[in-house]
């Protein structure tokens, strides 16, 4: 009886003081304030398995490091600070040495040139502080001339493995290369790697070319040319530089083309009788469909990634603003309501954001907003910024920045969607109207 009473007393005590019962549990903390800074990493020169691979081993490591550093998310620890030397790809990594220099990620690799002259690259990604490998080692094989692409692919793998989102290093950009004085500027289509390397011209400077746009697969380019005196839309095959003009009525002006996500339809603007509206055209048959009939100017259309909606620019409200409507036409919904003029909207490959050009108070901005127009965020500000284009992973925006004055020229810049890491894309000459292509296979 006494024991039962005591048991009851103990139960009441535990009910009254539950903390006593929880005392044996783990200590619980909630962390909400971290830091945002580039992750230190190290990419020592890859190990050359053969003397012929010596130069590749060094150059590939340098390109990988440049790719990662260029994102603004990573910071390379220079080779002079390295304690360990990677002399064998198979040897275990001395993590303590890399931990000592605060390298949080380590990329090791080896390069070999086989008998057929192909470059073989093996690499591993290590989490230094965890003391383990991130994922499994991989091997890439390519031509000797394609060693940069191999390096970009390694960089993409590292980027994806650490950040959790796809890379964009092994991609190309088509743009308008500009040269000469401002009043007699020669413009040619050109294509290059995303980092400005391997520039190749696709057209000559005989006529003015504008607004090139990559196809979803990156094998074709749409662009506008004044070759006939009127702006016409051309389709260019990147591989053989062959081209053809899309059929439009005489006396009309067609411009601002954009491929549909499936690559079979072209969305463009057509000016006829002083009115500019949106049209679609089947590339194979050449059949056109009119999407808008408003008396205002509708231009700069861009598909959503799923191909169901279109975002475009219209001045139907009195000033250029951004609208979204179904891909088959119909009622358009305005999404931009800020002060200023909005234009050149581009839907993000992720589908969550729309990049645009904004002119406000005498300055131009590149900005992003959600597809419902909320959370508008201006990323840049200058005398003239325009024409944004998305990186394949939807994390970076490239655009044209033109400097003021008679000696001013256009250059390409890129910026992270957070607004950080604004940097110029180095090109041999002036450049404008970039269009970022997809990741290459």
């Amino acid at each position: 009886m006494m024991r039962s009473l005591l048991t009851l007393l103990a139960a009441l005590t535990l009910w009254a003081f539950p903390a006593t019962a929880q005392q044996g549990g783990p200590l619980r903390l909630e962390l909400t304030e971290g830091v945002i800074e580039p992750m230190p990493f190290a990419v020592p020169d890859f190990v050359a398995d053969t003397p012929a691979a010596q130069e590749f081993a060094r150059n590939i490591a340098r390109v990988i490091a440049a790719d990662l550093t260029g994102t603004g998310l990573f910071r390379e620890i220079p080779a002079e600070a390295h304690i360990s030397r990677i002399t064998s790809f198979e040897s275990p990594v001395q993590f303590a040495d890399w931990r000592a220099i605060n390298a949080q990620a380590l990329v090791t690799g080896a390069v070999n040139v086989d008998g057929s002259g192909r470059v073989v690259v093996r690499f591993r990604i290590h989490d230094v502080f965890a003391g383990q490998e991130l994922g499994r080692g991989q091997q890439l094989v390519g031509d000797r001339d394609g060693w940069r692409r191999i390096a970009h692919k390694v960089g993409d793998q590292v980027y994806a493995r650490i950040t959790g989102e796809g890379g964009y290093f092994d991609s190309r950009v088509v743009f308008v290369s500009e040269s000469g004085p401002k009043d007699q500027r020669a413009k040619r289509l050109a294509i290059m790697d995303y980092d400005g390397a391997n520039v190749q011209f696709l057209t000559d400077a005989a006529s003015i070319v504008l607004a090139p746009r990559f196809s979803p697969t990156g094998d074709r380019v749409l662009y506008t040319s004044y070759e006939t005196g009127f702006p016409r839309i051309y389709v260019l095959d990147v591989a053989n530089v062959g081209r053809r003009v899309l059929p439009t009525l005489d006396g009309t002006m067609a411009f601002a083309p954009r491929f549909s996500p499936d690559g079979r339809t072209v969305l463009y603007s057509l000016t006829q009788g002083g009115n500019t509206d949106l049209y679609t055209m089947d590339i194979t048959s050449g059949a056109s469909t009119r999407l808008t009939t408003a008396p205002s100017i509708e231009t700069a259309p861009s598909y959503s990634p799923d191909g169901r909606q279109i975002v475009f620019e219209s001045d139907r409200s009195g000033t250029p603003q951004l609208y979204i409507m179904p891909v088959s036409g119909g009622e358009a919904r305005r999404i931009s309501f800020g002060q200023g003029r909005y234009g050149t909207p581009v839907w993000s490959p992720r589908g969550d954001l729309i990049a645009f050009t904004k002119q406000s108070k005498g300055r131009f901005h590149i900005g992003v907003m959600r597809t419902d127009g909320s959370e508008e965020r201006l990323l840049t500000a200058s005398f003239l910024d325009e024409g944004p284009t998305w990186a394949p992973n939807g994390r970076v925006v490239m655009f044209t920045r033109e400097t003021q004055g008679a000696q001013g020229e256009a250059r390409l810049y890129s910026v992270d969607i957070t607004g950080r890491n604004l940097r110029q894309v180095v090109t041999p000459s002036g450049a404008s109207d970039p269009s970022w292509g997809p990741l290459q296979n």
């Binding site: 783990p26 619980r28 990573f74 959790g164």
Partner: protein, 383 residues
């Protein structure tokens, strides 16, 4: 009428008579001031008053006649007023210049003086008598009684007496039966009276020893890793401390302990090391800040930044994390791939900043041996 009443009546009559005839009801006159006065004669009074009488009034007053107008009026002659002569001020010639002052006689150079610092007499050192910080413990007051020979204090049960007698107890085995008596002893005495103030006392201690820390219960050290093992620290769960054999509760207190243990479902409690008090909010914040300092989300994807992960870690007693024990318990808000990236960032934070050990109170090791950290990047999310 009895005798008492007679005596009482006579007494009362005597008292009333004394009050009436003795002046008990007469009041004394009020006190007055006595002033001395001087007598004066009538003549003297008249003489005094005559000096103060008013003068007689004059009835007739002779007033002079006013002059008749126009009669013997003097002729008024008006002439030009001559300008008053003005005395020109005398022109003063320039005063002769003051003679140049003669240069002062050269002051003889002071004789070379050698400063000799005054000798400062050092005042006699004064030593302040400081009161002891701790009052001496009171000591038993010495016996004030003075005796030719000191007498030691008697046993507590001994009665004080002039003669010391040993205690005699009845002996069961004895034939002669003696009357029992109490033990006696002379009163405690000293040869001289020494007061408490005169007795030299030992100086009070100026410092006290720091109390010793609570002795930690003996815990087995983590088992050393085998020779070929990697150099990373490996956590080993401490071996269970031997549990003493349960003893039957002899008292109600033991029954309460058993009842509590039964309520907790633990059976007989094992003598684990004391858990110590829970971590204070400051200690928790310090740990949180230490980990957050290394929680770098700058390289995470947007989706990973929208993913909250709960990570558990077991700590070494050296306040370093057991890296091999870090696990992701759960995640929310993102895909599994994004959660993996978020978890790896959290793991890096724990390992990096715990490499040198966190600042945790060792006496509360049981409180922070197992930690669950929720990494919620909501505030740093890329919108």
């Amino acid at each position: 009428m009895n005798t008492g009443q007679i005596i009482s009546g006579a007494g009362h009559l005597a008292l009333i008579g004394w009050a009436l005839l003795g002046g008990a009801f007469r009041s004394d006159p009020p006190p007055f001031e006595v002033v001395e006065a001087m007598a004066i004669s009538a003549e003297d009074y008249a003489a005094l008053v005559a000096g103060q009488s008013a003068p007689e009034a004059v009835a007739n007053v002779n007033t002079p006649e006013p002059p008749a107008p126009g009669e013997n009026a003097p002729a008024l002659v008006s002439g030009a007023d001559s300008a008053p002569a003005q005395n020109q001020p005398e022109v003063n010639s320039a005063p002769p210049p003051d003679p140049a002052p003669s240069p002062p006689a050269p002051v003889p150079a002071p004789a070379e003086v050698t400063d000799t610092p005054p000798v400062i007499e050092t005042p006699p050192e004064e030593t302040a008598a400081l009161m002891p910080e701790i009052s001496p413990r009171p000591q038993p007051r010495p016996a004030p009684r003075v005796a030719p020979e000191p007498v030691a204090p008697a046993e507590p049960d001994v009665r004080v007496d002039d003669v010391a007698r040993p205690e005699v107890a009845p002996d069961a085995g004895a034939v002669v039966e003696e009357a029992p008596q109490e033990a006696t002893a002379p009163e405690e005495a000293a040869t001289e009276i020494v007061t408490e103030a005169e007795r030299p006392s030992e100086p009070a201690p100026t410092a006290s020893l720091r109390p010793r820390a609570r002795p930690a219960a003996a815990r087995p050290e983590p088992a050393p890793p085998p020779a070929p093992a990697p150099p990373t620290e490996t956590a080993t769960r401490p071996a269970p401390i031997p549990t003493p054999a349960p003893t039957p509760p002899a008292t109600d207190r033991g029954a309460v302990s058993d009842a509590l243990a039964a309520a907790l479902g633990q059976g007989t409690p094992t003598p684990e090391r004391p858990a110590g008090p829970p971590l204070t909010a400051g200690e928790k914040d310090a740990l949180r800040v230490a980990v957050q300092r290394c929680w770098n989300v700058g390289s995470l994807s947007s989706e990973a930044l929208a993913t909250t992960v709960v990570v558990t870690v077991r700590m070494f007693e050296t306040s370093k994390p057991d890296n091999s024990s870090i696990r992701m318990l759960s995640h929310s808000g993102g895909s599994a791939a994004a959660a993996q990236q978020a978890y790896e960032a959290a793991r890096r934070a724990i390992i990096r900043c715990g490499n040198d050990g966190f600042n945790l109170p060792p006496e509360k090791f049981e409180q922070w041996r197992d930690i669950e950290m929720t990494f919620n990047p909501e505030r740093m999310r890329i919108k």
